[in-house]
Symmetry: C2
Subunit: 163 residues, 2 copies
């Protein structure tokens, strides 16, 4: 593998790790207190299981991403990395999907189930969660790119190379 290509791949991994770290931090620091007449309530990520899962999944992916950065280029472990990439991409996909599903209810509510939207009461909390989801999505996209690139260079599925 060329040196330029390797540096490019490492930079992509760095970007992925950076995105997942910031997604976890932004989500974990999101909180806002709202006052509704005499009633005061607090919006926090720990109140929603899906958001807790999002933070955990992104933290796990970040630790993994940083560990992979220090793997020497000649290591045989790179074969295992592809399998772990698949698992991490699944983990990030599920966490983002779950958090998005709950955030969608938080934003629009669900009139059939009688769930009211809460974003009008806690707008800062909502925008911080949106930011965390965007960062998580960026991390996921980079992982997906890395994964499809690995598969492409392994398999040549589009049969571009001459046999």
């Amino acid at each position: 593998m060329g040196k330029a290509k390797r540096i490019c791949l490492l930079l992509l991994r760095l970007l992925a790790s950076g995105s997942t770290v910031s997604a976890a931090i932004v989500m974990a620091t999101s909180r806002e207190e709202a006052r509704f007449f005499t009633l005061s309530f607090e919006a926090k990520y720990t109140h929603t299981p899906s958001f807790k899962y999002f933070v955990i999944a992104n933290a796990v992916a970040s630790v993994y991403g940083f560990l992979v950065l220090f793997l020497p280029a000649e290591s045989l472990l790179w074969r295992l990395v592809l399998c772990f990439d698949v698992i991490m991409t699944m983990l990030l996909t599920s966490s983002i999907a779950a958090a998005l599903a709950v955030a969608q209810i938080g934003k629009n509510g669900n009139s059939y189930a009688g769930w009211l939207p809460i974003c009008d009461q806690v707008p800062n909390y909502c925008s911080q969660v949106t930011g965390a989801l965007a960062m998580g999505l960026l991390g996921l996209l980079v992982y997906l790119l890395l994964l499809l690139y690995s598969l492409h260079s392994l398999l040549d599925p589009l049969l571009l190379k001459k046999p």
Copy 2:
């Protein structure tokens, strides 16, 4: 590849397609009408965007799964199948995660956001959704198995074979 192994893999694919088909059908046919004093309301999968996405994702995965069953063993397209397997597994993962997140709110509610559980009002609807999620989960597990098996036979990541 041995004939027994090929039949085993095809049976796994058949199982995966069967699971995703039944997950889509069970979710799509789930509906229940509930009466709450004079108020009557209907629970249906189309009322929840995540459940709609679940049905669509499982339907897409089913069509793909059945198409792959008819691919001849010598086809060069099998290389492309691995990439599509990755994408389908992502699709199923995200749909199940989103549907699970909403189903969890439907079952337990979220007291902080003021969202009440609805499963006491529509128990049959809830158990049907649970069944659909279980079938979807089975399909996802089989796809994950197929994917990790493909990667294993391609890469030998655990270095079991002698070089």
